[in-house]
Every structure is written in C-alpha cells, then in structure tokens.
C-alpha cells in the first residue's frame, strides 16, 4: 500500500526521457533497483536527501518529480 497515496510522481516518465533504466538510475544514486521501482509505483516515499539525489541525477528540479494535487 502506498505510504502517501496523494503524492504523485513523474519519476518513470522523467527517467525514460533521460534514457535511463531503473538499474542505471539506481547505480547512479547508490540505491537498489527495487527502491527506484517502489518510488515509481508510489509504494515508497523517499527522504529529502534521496529526492535531491534523484533530481540531480535526472537534471530536473525536485518539484517536477514529485507533486501534491
């Protein structure tokens, strides 16, 4: 079950646009592929640190990855 059902994210879309697989993105930010998968599915909400790492790896601002309705 999602940690925060209201929190939406565009991680999958942005990762695909950057031409990265889940495994490649995971390697870049030193987490497991599972972690990327659960974030994309909204099952796991990352910490601020991990969110910032994701935004740096994808070259986009954090608020373009995660959003509240």
């Amino acid at each position: 079950m999602p940690d925060h059902p209201q929190l939406g994210n565009r991680l999958k879309e942005l990762r695909t646009a950057a031409g990265l697989t889940q495994a490649e993105l995971a390697t870049q930010i030193h987490v497991s592929r599972k972690t990327i998968n659960t974030i994309e599915n909204g099952v796991f909400v990352p910490s601020t640190i991990l969110a910032l790492r994701l935004s740096a790896a994808l070259g986009v601002p954090v608020e373009s990855i995660f959003r509240l309705p």
Partner: protein, 147 residues
C-alpha cells in the same frame, strides 16, 4: 552491479527465512507444553530440535562473518544499495510487526491461561519465540513484496 545487489538481497531474504524456520524447529519442541503433545522421549523431535539449533547457529555465523568480510571487500556502492532507505524502512516495519505479534501472542497466552494451565516459563518462551521469528519473516516478506 545491479545483478549482484539483487542476488545478495535474495540471498539475505532466503537466509532470514531459513533461520526463522530453524529457530521455530529448535525452540518449539523445547517448550514444556510440547511434552504433553509429543512426549519428551520421542527421539525424532530431539533430532529435529538439534538440527534446528545447528542451522540457526550456522546461519548466525554466516550472517556475522560474511557481513563483516563483505563490508570490507565490497564496493561502497553495493554496501549502500543493500542498506538503502527502502531496506531500512522495511526493517522498521518488520520490527513494528514483530512488536504487534509479540503483543498478540501475549494476549492469546493470557486468554488461554484462563482455561488451561500454562507455566510462566512457557508463556515467556512463546512470546520470546514470536518476538524473534515474526520480524525475520516480516522483513523477508516485505523485501519480497517490493522486489
């Protein structure tokens, strides 16, 4: 590297499941109430209990020695990925589940003691076994669900 992380994560899950099962096989026949069910002299249960203990002990040795050796040899990226935020979150949830199971076991034992004689030693033993085994299974299941 991602394959190595997946492989190690799967191995950890399996090891935890095996150790939790071994702990059950070791501890349950050692409980006082079990004598009434199976008979203390039954050699099968003694052998099973001993085997459970050996598997548990071997698992502990493997967990600690391999963990220490791996931490020294592995690339820091692998170590970080095997202990990332999701793993830490799953561990917290597993401990919470273990606490809930321990409370539920205490409640069941207390309720059962109103109808059947249960020794203090058996009650403590049951709660202890639940407290050890439940978080191990819960962690393995959570890691499996998120795989």
């Amino acid at each position: 590297m991602p394959d190595e992380i997946e492989r190690r994560s799967l191995r950890r899950r399996i090891l935890l499941m095996v150790m939790a099962s071994a702990f059950l096989v070791w501890q349950v026949p050692a409980m006082d109430f079990f004598d009434g069910i199976a008979g203390r002299e039954n050699p099968l249960f003694r052998i099973a209990s001993l085997a459970g203990f050996l598997v548990w002990a071997a698992g502990l040795v493997l967990l600690f020695t391999y963990g220490h050796v791996a931490r020294g040899v592995d690339k820091p990226e692998i170590t970080a990925a095997l202990e990332d935020e999701l793993v830490r979150s799953n561990r917290r949830r597993a401990f919470t589940a273990g606490y809930a199971v321990s409370l539920a076991t205490s409640a069941v034992v207390f309720a059962a003691s109103l109808f059947w004689p249960i020794t203090g030693s058996d009650a403590a033993h049951l709660v202890l076994v639940a407290a050890v085994v439940a978080p191990m299974y819960a962690f393995a299941v959570l890691e499996r669900i998120n795989a």
